[in-house]
């Protein structure tokens, strides 16, 4: 055999091995003829190169819902797919463990392979995705994948592809989801073109679905046309093309898969470069959040309008560079009939900095709607805070600060800030983890106050710069990061602190550095610090008057049952109430129960409540666990007329974003309600909604955060310096008229005086204020009968019980 013929045979062997998914290396091929190695290596390279030129697979349908008949997997180009592939399951094969009959292959991608399958038993068509990455994943990673995937599978929305089932097949995770007939948006866009109005309508629908998922704490991170599936395409001979019922597929799972995959392929950038947000392209993982999906929606809008994503270069690397550094070509350049308003919306989504985009997918949806009905768009976002993430810590002081400062001058005019360096406020709003969006509304409200101050000339002739601590999700890091804000970022004040557990950690830092923290959340009190100004209401300001004046004296309720979440704040408040109620003539506590967070077993508690025959229920439960309880109470016929419930930690925001039928007729207690009358409140709400959209709600924490910034600004002006020690000295003498009334600090304790207000929940979710204290109530941080020292001992015992942590290690 001649050398040429031999090379030909070796290359054929290589192609065959590659088609089988396990390509032999040139070394393996040439083991017996090393002199041909160089030629074979070169020819293998050539074949690889031309195969990818000839590969048309990407131009076929690679979606989960594509039509199986359009795929011809054994065409030569199709056979040249990459190395590690899941086993090709023959049609008709039954995944015996999981009860699916494979009907055909719908597509394959980097992540895995998608089959059209019949689910036995339930007798329905499904798309079955078997994931490629799982094979080498560590058990802990897989466990995490399943945990996240189960959360995602709980999403129920008409525009999100439903996940039916999760499992594993021979060690590879798989999931079954809705099968959609009409394929993906990717395919549809090759054949059809949407009018600008239809484009806006489509993206609005998707944005609302994305917002729903964000509310559940889930971020998609991989929005692209291939992930949008359709039930039908209507393309009439006359008139506009319409894409029916778009649904978002693979919600959040893509990234989870990436996560387990990263174990086997460290250092790779995963995802589709042309559809990545700048923070993803730059691997700033800590910045990935809801705004990442807003960017993704912007890319979708761009592609629906123009036919292509904004950035596409010859190589992935160049594309990533463009995503990070270049401005997108204007859509109207590519499509001349693109209306300016729609272009504006699109470009606002595509801003490089997450904080300059729409603040939520919902805000984007609202603007898309305004475009469709011809209303003016929302005003552009306010000056964003400079975000710092742990990963980019050292790099931020240079270029980022420079560009932001330049932006600020551009917006407000250099002359407004004649006196050099900005004054910095550090905002500390810890989010408990990547799946949860928290504190955003409060932070937005605080940024709004900063923006207002800057607009009117800043403070002491200096600009105010907002610096945000990025997601200190590991509680240990809160101290470390507060410290960095003080030392490295040289902030003049810290505002925030989220939960009591977080505050207690930040407290140590501000005391150590003799600095200043303004804490704007409702809490249990039981604390004193010369370095903290406590702006949130505490039990003697809300619970005592609500129980004594309103429930006992006005409603004549005497028998109380206390129910709460099993974490620090509710436990401490219950303890305080237990000391207070026995001092009221005729009043008694007839029962007390704590439930772990997310506990579905509320029925026994409801039984206990009923058996104890209380006249009012004092609810100290956090968040939507309240709803679970209320639902069960209603089912047990414990209605507001028979047993009124007074909730202390359930905010207006939570109530409006959730089903509220269960709570209609019950009561909330707070020092602020959005429905308060008065010009200051009307101005505040208007400002908030102008900036963040009409859905944006004001509630107690947002109002207090907003007021905190203004109150601090008053103190800075009075002290003529931003030095924390000087500001602390004068802040007790300030009086700021906030949206909810005057804000004053008791110099003796550092606690704010607060109003107590009781509101009744109406069927439409709004609050009708039933009762309000005449004036702000002075805080009593350590209420009787326990003395301060007793309270400290009680706190210490709880801390010890929880393994020397301020968070309950049991699910709380």
């Amino acid at each position: 055999m001649t050398d040429d013929a031999r090379v030909e045979e070796l290359l054929l062997a290589w192609e065959e091995s590659r088609a089988l998914g396990e390509p032999l290396s040139p070394q393996e091929l040439c083991r017996d003829c090393p002199k041909l190695l160089e030629t074979v290596q070169r020819r293998v390279r050539d074949l690889r190169a031309i195969s990818s030129v000839l590969d048309l697979a990407a131009f076929r349908e690679e979606s989960t819902g594509g039509d199986a008949s359009t795929l011809t997997p054994d065409t030569p180009a199709g056979a040249n797919r990459d190395v590690s592939r899941p086993p090709r399951l023959p049609a008709g094969d039954v995944l015996s463990l999981s009860g699916y009959k494979i009907l055909g292959e719908l597509g394959r991608g980097g992540m895995g392979v998608v089959y059209k399958a019949w689910q036995l038993g339930l007798e329905r068509l499904v798309a079955l995705k078997v994931i490629l990455a799982g094979k080498h994943a560590a058990p802990s990673e897989l466990k995490r994948f399943y945990a996240e995937a189960r959360l995602i599978a709980r999403l129920r929305h008409p525009n999100i592809v439903q996940i039916f089932d999760l499992g594993d097949h021979e060690g590879r995770p798989y999931y079954a989801m809705e099968f959609l007939e009409a394929g993906s948006l990717d395919q549809a866009l090759y054949q059809h073109r949407l009018s600008p109005r239809r484009s806006a309508e489509l993206i609005e629908t998707l944005a609302r679905a994305v917002h729903y998922a964000h509310q559940q704490g889930i971020i998609h991170r991989d929005l692209k046309p291939g992930n949008i599936l359709l039930t039908a395409i209507r393309a009439p001979a006359e008139g506009e093309v319409e894409l029916r019922t778009p649904k978002i597929g693979d919600f959040g799972l893509a990234l989870q898969v990436d996560m387990i995959d990263r174990v086997t392929r460290p250092g790779t950038v995963l995802g589709t470069p042309a559809y990545m947000a700048p923070e993803q392209a730059a691997r700033k993982d800590r910045q990935v959040g809801p705004a990442t999906d807003v960017y993704g929606l912007g890319v979708l809008l761009y592609q629906v309008l123009t036919g292509a994503p904004p950035f596409q270069a010859d190589t992935d690397w160049e594309t990533l560079q463009a995503v990070v550094n270049q401005q997108p070509p204007l859509p109207s350049r590519i499509r001349t009939d693109c209306p300016p308003a729609l272009e504006e919306i699109c470009l606002r989504c595509l801003r490089k900095s997450p904080s300059e985009r729409y603040t939520s997918a919902d805000a984007l949806a609202a603007d898309l709607h305004r475009f469709q009905v011809g209303e003016p768009l929302s005003p552009p976002p306010i000056l964003p805070p400079r975000r710092i993430s742990r990963r980019t810590w050292l790099a931020t002081t240079g270029a980022a600060a420079l560009s932001l400062t330049a932006g600020a001058y551009f917006l407000f005019g250099r002359h407004l800030f004649p006196k050099g360096t900005p004054i910095r406020i550090g905002f500390v709003h810890a989010g408990p983890g990547p799946l949860v969006i928290s504190g955003d509304a409060v932070l937005d409200s605080e940024r709004l106050a900063v923006w207002e101050l800057n607009k009117s000339g800043g403070l002491l002739g200096r600009e105010i710069e907002a610096v945000t601590l990025e997601d200190p999700d590991q509680q240990l890091l809160v101290t470390e990061q507060a410290e960095r804000l003080i030392i490295d970022e040289k902030v003049s004040v810290l505002i925030g602190g989220s939960t009591s557990a977080t505050r207690k950690q930040v407290k140590e830092v501000v005391e150590k550095h003799d600095h200043l923290l303004l804490y704007p959340m409702e809490f249990e009190g039981l604390e004193e610090s010369g370095n903290i100004v406590y702006l949130g209401a505490i039990p003697n300001q809300l619970m005592f008057p609500a129980i004594k004046t309103w429930l006992l004296e006005r409603q004549e309720k005497k028998r109380f049952f206390v129910v709460g979440s099993n974490s620090l704040l509710p436990r401490a408040c219950a303890e305080i109430i237990k000391g207070f109620i026995p001092t009221l003539p005729g009043a008694e506590i007839v029962g007390e129960e704590f439930l772990p967070k997310g506990s579905p077993r509320v029925a026994p508690i409801v039984n206990k409540i009923r058996d104890a025959k209380p006249e009012a229920l004092l609810n100290l439960i956090h968040g939507d666990d309240s709803l679970t309880l209320m639902k069960e109470m209603r089912a047990a016929d414990l209605t507001p007329d028979r047993l009124p419930t007074v909730s202390f930690f359930f905010t207006e925001q939570e109530m409006r974003s959730l089903t509220r039928a269960e709570m209609t007729g019950d009561y909330l207690v707070s020092s602020y309600f959005e429905s308060l009358t008065g010009q200051a409140n009307a101005d505040y709400i208007k400002l908030l909604q102008d900036q963040f959209g009409p859905q944006r709600l004001a509630f107690d924490d947002t109002e207090t955060g907003y007021s905190a910034v203004h109150l601090w600004a008053h103190a800075v002006r009075a002290a003529r310096t931003d030095d924390p020690r000087e500001v602390r000295r004068v802040i007790g003498q300030q009086n700021y008229a906030g949206p909810g009334g005057p804000i004053m600090i008791d110099p003796a304790t550092g606690y704010a005086h607060k109003f107590c207000r009781v509101g009744k929940i109406k069927a439409d979710g709004s609050i009708e204020i039933e009762w309000s204290s005449d004036k702000p109530i002075t805080a009593v941080p350590f209420p009787g009968p326990r003395r301060q020292q007793d309270w400290n001992e009680w706190l210490h015992a709880v801390y010890h019980e929880w393994g020397d942590h301020w968070t309950n290690p049991a699910k709380n």
């Binding site: 030129v53 054994d74 036919g307």
Partner: protein
């Protein structure tokens, strides 16, 4: 040898009908042969965001269909093989024309920039069109021109296999059956054809995305 597959059988039925004077079969033939053209056009134009890709893809499809239709009016192919050779040739020519007339450096590509400029000056003032994108794309498409030309220079046997597998998207077994050769021979010719293309283009393949 593999059996003649359903697609070939279908094509044969239409060819028979066409030869028997059934004109409607012509349209069927054209449609089935041009299916693959869409994919190839998409690939060639994928990086061309500044043209309205929908129209362009559809234009190419229309033109190629029309061209093949006219050819079939003049020549009635005798066999499926005959027909597919004809179809591939037409598709290739159409793709070459697409580049030449619409985007090539000597074609209307230059006009495109002018048009863009005019359109811009009508609607927006200030900035001009983005030159980088306009100059880069014709280069890329020129590479495709070279590629299609290179296919024409392949030895006949290899070109025919290349036509069937790539321009027509036939599975290898079906191509083998149609040509009356073994699967192995098809694989050999397919490999040789691709390596010849790399050589003919001196490694200058159309840029990948």
């Amino acid at each position: 040898m593999a059996e003649i597959s359903s697609k070939s059988l279908l094509l044969q039925t239409w060819i028979d009908r066409l030869r028997a004077g059934d004109d409607s079969a012509r349209a069927e033939l054209v449609n089935s042969a041009c299916e693959r053209l869409r994919l190839i056009t998409r690939k060639m134009l994928r990086r061309y965001p500044r043209v309205k890709r929908w129209e362009q893809t559809d234009d190419v499809f229309q033109n190629a269909s029309l061209r093949l239709y006219r050819t079939l009016e003049q020549v009635a192919p005798e066999s499926v093989r005959d027909f597919l050779r004809l179809a591939s040739l037409n598709i290739r020519r159409e793709l070459l024309d697409l580049v030449k007339h619409h985007y090539g450096p000597q074609g209307q590509g230059a006009n495109y920039a002018t048009k863009a400029e005019q359109a811009n000056s009508d609607t927006r003032s200030g900035e001009g069109p983005e030159a980088a994108a306009l100059t880069h794309e014709p280069f890329r498409l020129t590479a495709w021109t070279e590629f299609h030309h290179a296919v024409e220079t392949l030895p006949d046997e290899e070109r025919e296999v290349f036509d069937l597998l790539w321009y027509q998207g036939l599975p290898q077994a079906e191509a083998a059956a149609l040509l009356g050769v073994s699967d192995r021979t098809v694989k050999r010719r397919w490999q040789a054809a691709r390596l010849h293309l790399v050589d003919a283009l001196h490694g200058q393949l159309p840029p990948e995305d």
